[in-house]
């Protein structure tokens, strides 16, 4: 009991993410809750069995595949664990031997009858009196020590203590290497796991990303991966440790006394049964607490995000009472949990105490009868504590197993999903050309959807022309453009660019030649300049500025705190929608594409600036094909070709003048809007005849 040196076991891998060394001992529950429920997806798989049908066992096996590349480290880690266990148990054993040795001496010397004992009682000096002074003569004292040191029990004791020191030194070294190897093992493993996840997410294609929200995927790559990694590490290193400790201590106990060894086994079934029973009982409550906690966070987050609405409708009091009610529900559940634990802790400790005490009882009897020595008693406490403690860890691992299986299922759902767009093995780069685009009988349905988004679309756009796509929301305009860049492959039909079927060309050459400016502008947390040169990282500052000037972004960039070096994003400056769009345009220009796609790219920019941008673009975009998706008639009418899409079909095609002359969606919408405004609409002096029309 006395001798074990309590030291923090290096926890494999828990290393990162925790805030402190201690904290990571907790298999952080919050991480679990981050994972969202697996949605219904039917990814196409490289392997036969989809992850949701995989048996737990298969998943378990698969989880260990990431150990492969680091197997030597893993073996080393296990060897170190074995060594540490051996050293640790030996330290306990040596302490026992020291005490035993001391006790033999005492046991041998004290052979005094009762009468002497009582007599001595009188002569014994007061307790506080130092031993040295009570010694009758200095000379005999030194002599006595010398005899003890040269031979006899004190000599043996000193030798044993020396050996003990040696073992402790060894354990120090082993512990150091354990920390090092464990951390390396875990980090190397997580490195390859993350890298392959990252790679997979980049390759898997848009249709996969359509089905999974980015939040879900982020959770998967962070928390699910963490769960799996932690479990694999636990399973490898910790289980080895646990088994070795339990076996080691049982052997030690049995070697001291078989009877005691047997008694030590008695509480194990009770112990384990109770732990399992408790886990089963605690889990639903913990889950409830988690749900309630999420609800509470949800109310808070909604109120923060919708603060304006709350204020505008003066519903503060309602919201407060809503929050309080949710908080009270969580509180009730927390209390239930407290009640559970308040029983659990004493019961668990009772079992442990009872087992230790029964060992002491048996041991002491054996001591008195002479078959054991007192040092052995010390081992009992330590051994019992270790055996039960390790079993409890085993229980934790089995809980972790449940979580990790869920995580593994989700993880492999991502990892085994087949990319929706594949490059041909002999894909050639896109041939040079002016950016001529041709769609022939293209049909496309999003996976999982019933209605096709595009049906039999055919058109041809000459290189260097401006093509406008109009039609109601959801008509398939954006989809068409995404097919052009092979973010998806059409179900039927052929798309060709400069005469080559885009399925036959390499993805990178195809995508390099097309640039997008999306309506929702995504900028990265980097400097303004780096965001602009995102597609062509080697671009000079001068080029960046030139692009920014064309996109009418230069002026506002110069007003930012650090100009082009201003950090954007979460920790940086926040830009308005219009400013973001202008940066996106600059970014697209910078990439110097053959084909530029403006997907409602100017919606958040006011008309005056839009006019300036368009004039700038006209200068730069000669010899480039431009596709414009827009609502504003002013943007659309200048196009060389206007494509009208309705419900996935190409219903009209032509120039503005042509389309205004024929009946159809284009004219209808224009006229509808015009007539709404016309009566009170005097033509301003020198002004145009067509007001802004939403198409």
């Amino acid at each position: 009991m006395a001798v074990t040196r309590r030291r923090q076991q290096p926890k494999a891998g828990g290393a990162e993410q925790g805030s402190t060394g201690e904290r990571q001992e907790d298999p952080d529950e919050s991480r679990q809750s981050l994972g969202s429920k697996p949605e219904e997806v039917t990814p196409t798989l490289v392997e036969g069995i989809p992850p949701e049908q995989m048996s737990n066992f298969r998943l378990l096996i698969r989880m260990f595949e990431f150990v492969g590349p680091v197997k030597y480290l893993a073996i080393l880690a296990c060897i170190l664990v074995a060594l540490a266990t051996f050293v640790d148990i030996s330290t306990v054993n040596l302490t026992r031997l020291v005490i035993n040795n001391v006790s033999t001496v005492v046991g041998a010397t004290v052979k005094l009858p009762v009468s002497t004992l009582t007599a001595r009682k009188v002569t014994v000096p007061s307790r506080s009196k130092p031993a040295a002074s009570s010694s009758s003569s200095g000379a005999s004292f030194i002599q006595e020590i010398q005899t003890h040191f040269t031979h006899g029990p004190l000599r043996t004791t000193i030798n044993l203590i020396g050996l003990l020191a040696l073992f402790v030194a060894a354990s120090t070294v082993v512990t150091f290497f354990r920390w090092f190897v464990n951390s390396k093992l875990s980090m190397d493993m997580v490195f390859s796991m993350r890298a392959s996840m990252y790679d997979q997410l980049q390759r898997v294609g848009f249709s996969f990303h359509d089905r999974h929200s980015s939040g879900t995927l982020i959770n998967r790559s962070l928390s699910d991966l963490h769960n799996i990694r932690q479990f694999v590490n636990m399973a490898l290193v910790q289980i080895t440790e646990i088994v070795l400790y339990i076996v080691g201590y049982n052997i030690l106990l049995a070697s001291i006394s078989p009877t005691v060894g047997l008694v030590a086994l008695l509480p194990i079934p009770f112990w384990f049964t109770y732990l399992r029973y408790f886990s089963k009982k605690a889990q639903p409550i913990q889950k409830q607490i988690m749900t309630s906690g999420d609800e509470l966070t949800m109310v808070l987050s909604e109120n923060v995000a919708g603060a304006q609405v709350v204020k505008a409708f003066a519903t503060e009091k309602t919201e407060i009472s809503k929050y309080d009610k949710t908080a009270d529900r969580l509180f009730d559940r927390v209390l239930k949990n407290v009640g559970l634990f308040s029983n659990f802790v004493p019961i668990v400790r009772s079992i442990a105490t009872a087992s230790s005490l029964s060992l002491f009882l048996v041991g002491s009897f054996l001591c008195v009868s002479g078959s054991l020595k007192v040092g052995d008693l010390i081992v009992f406490g330590v051994a019992m504590g270790n055996i039960l403690g390790r079993l409890q860890q085993l229980n934790q691992i089995s809980n972790q197993y449940q979580t990790s299986i869920v995580s593994a299922r989700r993880f492999y759902e991502v990892m085994l999903a087949q990319p929706s767009v594949m490059e041909l093995p002999d894909a050639a780069p896109l041939p040079p050309g002016s950016g001529q685009v041709e769609f022939t009988g293209v049909s496309f349905t999003y996976s999982g959807a019933v209605k096709p988004v595009l049906e039999n679309v055919s058109f041809r756009a000459a290189g260097g022309s401006v093509v406008a796509l109009v039609g109601p929301t959801g008509a398939g305009k954006s989809t068409m453009m995404q097919l052009l860049a092979r973010f998806y492959d059409p179900d039927q039909g052929v798309i060709s660019m400069d005469g080559a079927d885009i399925k036959t060309v390499s993805l990178s050459s195809l995508r390099k030649s097309i640039c997008f400016v999306f309506q929702e502008t995504f900028l990265f947390s980097d400097t303004v300049a780096n965001n602009i040169r995102y597609g062509s990282p080697q671009a000079t500052d001068g080029a960046v500025e030139a692009a920014a000037r064309i996109a009418q972004a230069h002026d506002f960039i110069m007003e930012l705190s650090n100009g082009y070096q201003t950090l954007l994003g979460e920790r940086g400056t926040t830009l308005s929608g219009g400013q973001r769009q202008r940066l996106a345009i600059a970014r697209a220009l910078m990439a110097d594409p053959k084909i530029l796609v403006l997907d409602e790219a100017l919606a958040a920019i006011d008309p005056e600036t839009e006019h300036l941008i368009r004039r700038g673009l006209e200068l730069v975009l000669t010899n480039r094909t431009v596709f414009v998706i827009a609502h504003r008639l002013s943007t659309v009418r200048a196009a060389n070709l206007i494509l009208v899409l309705e419900h996935g079909r190409l219903t009209q095609m032509g120039t503005h003048e042509q389309l205004m002359r024929q009946p159809g969606h284009y004219r209808e919408v224009a006229v509808l809007q015009l007539s709404g405004d016309e009566p009170s609409f005097p033509v301003p002096p020198g002004g145009p005849t067509v007001p802004e029309v939403a198409l």
Partner: protein
């Protein structure tokens, strides 16, 4: 120590409020921590704040402390039982009657009489003694465990109450704060105040008093017992305590720095990943996959080396700390063994038994444990300090706009709105509105026209009293908005803004958000009047359709119409439409246009819009430029005036 792994603090964890997950928030890793200070040194002001939160339950805390103390005492007796056992057993077949509990009990005054009185043999007396000791040990533990059980319930109850009160207080305070706070504080940060900041105080507020007290007493008692058992050995080992303490603090600092680096590195890894996933389309469009993977892996490499470095620091210090503990044991062992030998060789010397040696061993463990534990406690406290300070800063934040003490309830208004020399800026050095004057009659429709950033939305916000003007005043029906209560003002207003914010719940819940007492029929009528009844009925579950997190399960146009209906059910006197129709397709746009006429009838309406059709029908046009009203009048009069509006109009309608 055998019981160490069973200490309650190790067991008692409650699943925290999961990391704040901003529902459907734009690209931001939910797990990526914020770049805020994690630790803060002890600060009396912050501590006083924490004590203030705990004060209503001080009686409970005192009881908790006493219970903890008693539990500790119970546990600290046990090494003495061990001593008793060993000393009984030690001389082989000759139990030491001197220290034997049973012998003392049987012999009443003198142990030597025990055998005579009981008539038991020496061995039997030994057995009896063992059983008595074990029974006493079990009894002490039983009391300790019962007390502990009670302590857990009591402590948790109080602590959780404090935490929940704090949560509620933070929420209520957030409701009081004005829009300017929400503008300048990032969403994630605000969320953190109400969630993880409070969760992080769990260890300190719930268990802090207990931990502190039990560790201090444990250490003190252990030290005192060591000294009383044998002061020479105690002197020989106790000096290691301060050494251990210093080393531990030093280690904490180093390991703390190492973990900080790990966290920073990890944040970079996770935010890079999160960003890449959210921006996948851009990544693919710009063909950056290979480069991004390289960047990601280089961040991972940094993360790996940070982790390994932290592990090395741990690998050096942890065994070192253990070594010091061990050094103490060796000293006790050598010194103790010598004393035992000495006693054996010279019975007349001061007696020292093996039992005492073992007991000192255990007490030494108990002396050392708290020193190490202090490290944890210290860490927790520093973290709680940082969090508590942030929460306290939030709670100390005064709302920029608040009801004055003499605020009156605004009676039902007609809807006259008047700006008198209003000057305003979100930051005091940057004015957004300069000396704005206008007068709006009840029932008029006012259109605000001008470029983005000219102050249109600001005027709307000032009418709502989301902010107050730095100069001049905003009057409603002759009442200065500063003199009336915010609630009574907002009850008579309706706003539809471009962000179309919906709350989780059904369509029905959302439409009657402003007036929960509205009947179903009223909601149906409202939607019928807005021509969107059929549209709502077409939803999956009609009006009972769940709109999802922030309305994610209904389309943009439907969301917009629900917002209109919400404003309509509120039946406001003053209606504010802030670019309410900017993001919808033609069909919905038309619906909304028609709805607008019904919605605005008989109400004072302010409109910020991009659509000419809306603007031209307005009773009054206010043309803004750089925060000033440069022109005002009807569409006709302004066109014929051929000034700023006319040129804006030309821009609007410019032919390409």
């Amino acid at each position: 120590m055998m019981t160490d792994f069973l200490r309650p603090s190790r067991w008692f964890k409650r699943p925290g409020n999961a990391a704040p997950r901003p529902a459907g928030l734009p690209a931001k890793s939910p797990t990526a921590p914020e770049s805020e200070a994690d630790y803060k040194p002890l600060d009396w002001k912050v501590v006083r704040g924490i004590l203030e939160w705990m004060r209503p339950y001080w009686r409970g805390y005192v009881i908790t402390a006493i219970t903890g103390l008693l539990v500790n005492l119970c546990e600290m007796v046990t090494p003495r039982y061990m001593q008793q056992l060993i000393d009984t057993d030690i001389p082989g077949k000759t139990p030491n009657l001197q220290t034997s509990l049973a012998a003392r009990a049987l012999g009443f005054i003198h142990p030597a009489w025990a055998m005579e009185i009981s008539g038991l043999s020496r061995t039997h007396l030994g057995y009896l003694n063992i059983m008595t000791t074990i029974a006493l040990w079990a009894f002490t533990m039983a009391i300790g465990l019962l007390l502990q059980r009670w302590g857990i319930v009591n402590t948790s109850l109080i602590g959780e109450k404090v935490l929940f009160n704090l949560r509620k207080r933070v929420f209520a305070h957030l409701q009081r704060l004005s829009m300017n706070y929400y503008d300048k504080t990032k969403f994630g940060r605000i969320l953190t105040r109400g969630t993880s900041d409070i969760d992080s105080m769990f260890n300190t507020i719930v268990w802090g008093v207990n931990t502190l007290l039990s560790n201090v007493t444990m250490m003190l008692i252990a030290a005192v017992i060591l000294i009383f058992m044998d002061w020479r050995i105690a002197v020989a080992v106790l000096w290691l305590g301060p050494v251990l303490y210093v080393l531990n603090i030093y280690y904490r600092r180093r390991v703390g720095a190492a973990w900080r680096r790990v966290r920073e590195g990890y944040t970079q890894v996770s935010s890079n990943l999160a960003e890449n996933i959210s921006g996948m389309r851009v990544v693919a469009a710009f063909n950056r996959q290979h480069q991004n993977l390289d960047v990601f892996n280089s961040l991972q490499l940094v993360n790996t080396s940070n982790n390994v470095r932290a592990a090395v620091v741990n690998g050096i210090y942890q065994p070192l700390l253990g070594l010091i503990g061990f050094l103490g044991k060796v000293i006790i062992l050598i010194f103790g063994a010598y004393l035992v030998f000495h006693t054996a060789a010279d019975p007349s010397s001061r007696k020292f038994t093996i039992g005492e040696l073992v007991a000192m061993f255990i007490y030494w463990d108990w002396f050392m444990g708290p020193v190490i534990n202090f490290g944890n406690f210290y860490n927790d406290t520093m973290m709680a300090m940082a969090c508590a300070e942030r929460v306290q800063t939030l709670l100390a934040q005064e709302p920029q706009v608040q009801d004055s003490s003499t605020a009156i309830t605004l009676p039902p208004v007609k809807g006259a709105v008047c700006f008198e020399h209003v000057t305003f800026g979100y930051q005091s050095d940057k004015t957004v509105l300069k000396d704005v004057n206008f007068q709006v009659e009840p029932g008029q429709m006012v259109a605000l026209v001008g470029h983005t950033g000219c102050g249109k939305s600001t005027i709307i916000s000032l009418i709502c009293r989301f902010y107050v003007a730095q100069q001049g005043r905003v009057m409603i029906d002759g009442y200065d908005v500063r003199d009336i209560s915010g609630e009574s003002l907002h009850r008579q207003m309706g706003i539809v803004s471009q962000n179309n914010y919906l709350f989780t719940g059904t369509v029905m819940d959302n439409i009657r958000y402003a007036r929960p007492q509205a009947t179903d029929q009223e909601v149906y009528d409202a939607t019928k009047k807005l021509d969107c009844y059929d549209m709502m009925m077409e939803l999956k579950d009609g009006f009972q359709t769940d709109v999802g997190e922030r309305g994610a399960s209904v389309s943009l146009g439907q969301r917009q119409l629900i917002c209109f209906a919400r404003a309509f059910v509120a039946n406001p006197r003053i209606l504010l439409l802030d670019e309410a129709t900017s993001a919808v397709d033609t069909h919905t746009e038309l619906l909304i246009q028609q709805a607008l006429e019904r919605l605005t009838a008989n109400r004072t309406t302010f409109v910020v819009a991009h659509r000419l059709s809306t603007i031209v029908h307005a009773d009054l046009l206010l043309v803004l430029d750089h925060g000033q009203v440069v022109e005002r009048g009807t569409h006709q009069s302004l066109i014929s005036h051929n000034g700023r509006y006319a040129s804006l109009y030309r821009e609007f309608t410019r032919d390409a």
